[in-house]
């Protein structure tokens, strides 16, 4: 089975990080999992990588939460879109939120960088369809 080389999880919830880590380990969905607990530290990482020109460090898939302290998911996306032209590697961005608010779903649709909006909890079924999307 094909898998995600590097998975990037941006979420302030440590229990969620744990379930993602465990699910990925159990099914062997990803080679490596990178964890960020808010948007700011994540965007810092991305801009560092762009400056170092070390694209091999970039993830293939980002799972992005919306509600986070310091820099939330929307603000992260804004900054990420500015960085995107400097990145050659294809990266799939998924919003993963517990919000079922119509407003959030609509807003996500307007951002072309976002592949899909997944509602928590994230399960192995989600990962399988993400991997299908990668191929």
């Amino acid at each position: 089975m094909k898998k995600i080389n590097i998975l990037c999880v941006i979420d302030d919830d440590s229990v969620y990080h744990y379930t993602v880590q465990k699910t990925v380990e159990h099914f062997g969905f990803a080679g490596k999992v990178m964890k960020f607990f808010d948007g700011e530290s994540a965007i810092q990482f991305f801009s560092d990588v762009v400056h170092r020109r070390s694209e091999q460090d970039l993830p293939d898939v980002i799972l992005l939460d919306l509600n986070m302290p310091v820099m939330d998911g929307w603000d992260f996306l804004e900054e990420y879109i500015l960085l995107r032209p400097h990145i050659g590697k294809p990266i799939l961005v998924y919003i993963v939120s517990s919000s079922v608010h119509q407003r959030d779903l609509e807003r996500a649709k307007t951002i072309s960088e976002v592949s899909d909006y997944l509602i928590k909890p994230i399960t192995d079924t989600h990962f399988r369809s993400i991997i299908d999307e990668l191929n």
Binding site: D13, T19, T23, N67, P69, D75, H101, P121
Partner: protein, 379 residues
């Protein structure tokens, strides 16, 4: 015998029996004629009026001003003009009149020449008072509907908050249950159970927080008493003295401008505790934390201010959610994001408001308008 025109002898009858008061004026506002209705209603003989100027009766300036505006407009335009006048005194005290001014014109060398003005005054007190009452009622209804809209919005917000804050721990639990099913050894299972416990505990916390908000908004009779700000602050300081000492926080207060408020004690304690813990929690690592409380009276409303020199917050970015439940901004470990939401609800339940000003990197100022509830003498 049918006639298209009216016998002029009837005109006098109609004029004198009319319920409206009819006067004729010269151009300098002297009364030349009044119908019987005027002296019947005013209880004066015709001589009391005729020959006198409108300015000779001691009418108040407001009345004369309205009268003049109608009279002069009629004289200027040679058109029928109506004004509404309220008589505050005399025989017609508290009476509203609609006065219609009719120009008396004669044709002279092909031009209309004004020689006098008739006024027809109709007592419109009932309809005007009724209209005013209607207006008042409409205003009342508008206020009521605004209040209901606010209440409905608040309920909807609360429903979202409940839904969102319950969803995240529940989805975590669902994820953990799934992991449990896949777990291959006891060690893993124990770890998962540990996370379940943690999640379950936070779910319980969330429900407690939400219950607190429901309680505040139920408007159960809260006891109001006279509270001295300094007493409450001392009590609050005592309860968190450990974290004050550990962080070396300097707390200052000045309640000299307004030393007390009629308020609910538990609310005031909770409000001051939240403001203080908030200031300490979001202190700047670059300087000694400094929190200043002061109060003042403005427009008869007691204001309480809490000013700190902490991290500050970008209000343009976060302003709309600063008083939301479970919103934290600085990635602080012990931030549960409960305090300000509860504080806001307590203040609003008492009829007050809370506002915030902040400069990132300099500090935050919370200003509370504590609307004073009426003093209950029995308490």
């Amino acid at each position: 015998m049918a006639s298209a025109s009216l016998d002029s002898s009837y005109l006098e009858l109609i004029i004198n029996q009319s319920p409206d008061m009819i006067c004729k004026y010269s151009l300098d506002k002297k009364i030349i004629f009044i119908n019987e209705t005027v002296h019947r209603a005013g209880g004066q003989v015709p001589q009391f009026y005729v020959g006198k100027s409108i300015y000779d009766f001691g009418y108040p300036p407001d009345f004369l001003k309205s009268f003049e505006s109608g009279f002069d407009a009629c004289a200027r335009t040679k058109q029928v003009t109506s004004v509404q006048i309220h008589v505050p005194m005399g025989a017609f005290a508290n009476t509203h009149f609609i006065i219609t001014f009719v120009p008396i014109l004669i044709s002279q060398q092909g031009e209309d020449k004004l020689i006098g003005i008739f006024s027809v005054s109709r007592n419109a007190t009932k309809e005007i008072e009724y209209n005013n009452l209607q207006k008042e009622k409409i205003e009342e209804l508008q206020i009521l509907s605004q209040r209901l809209i606010r209440k409905a919005n608040k309920l909807q917000d609360f429903a979202h908050i409940v839904s969102h804050n319950l969803r995240s721990p529940i989805s975590n639990l669902a994820g953990l249950f799934k992991l449990y099913d896949h777990a291959t050894n006891d060690e893993e299972r124990a770890e998962i159970i540990g996370f379940m416990k943690k999640t379950f505990y936070s779910l319980g916390q969330t429900i407690e927080d939400l219950n607190e908000v429901v309680k505040i908004n139920q408007h159960v009779e809260v006891k109001i008493e006279k509270l001295y700000f300094v007493d409450i602050l001392l009590h609050v300081q005592e309860s968190i003295s450990l974290s004050i000492v550990e962080t070396d926080t300097l707390i200052e207060c000045d309640f000299s401008a307004c030393d007390a408020v009629q308020y609910n004690k538990a609310y005031m304690e909770s409000i001051m505790l939240n403001l203080l813990t908030n200031a300490i929690k979001y202190r700047s690592p670059e300087r000694r934390p400094h929190v200043r409380f002061f109060s003042y009276l403005k427009d008869n409303i007691v204001h309480l201010v809490c000013k700190d020199n902490g991290l500050g917050i970008n209000l343009q970015k976060h302003g709309h959610k600063i008083f939301g439940l479970h919103k934290t901004f600085h990635g602080n470990q012990d931030a549960r994001g409960v305090g300000l939401y509860i504080t806001k609800n307590q203040i609003e339940a008492m009829g007050g408001t809370i506002s915030v000003e902040s400069i990132e990197g300099e500090g935050t100022t919370f200003t509370l308008q504590l609307t004073i509830p009426p003093i209950n003498e029995e308490n």
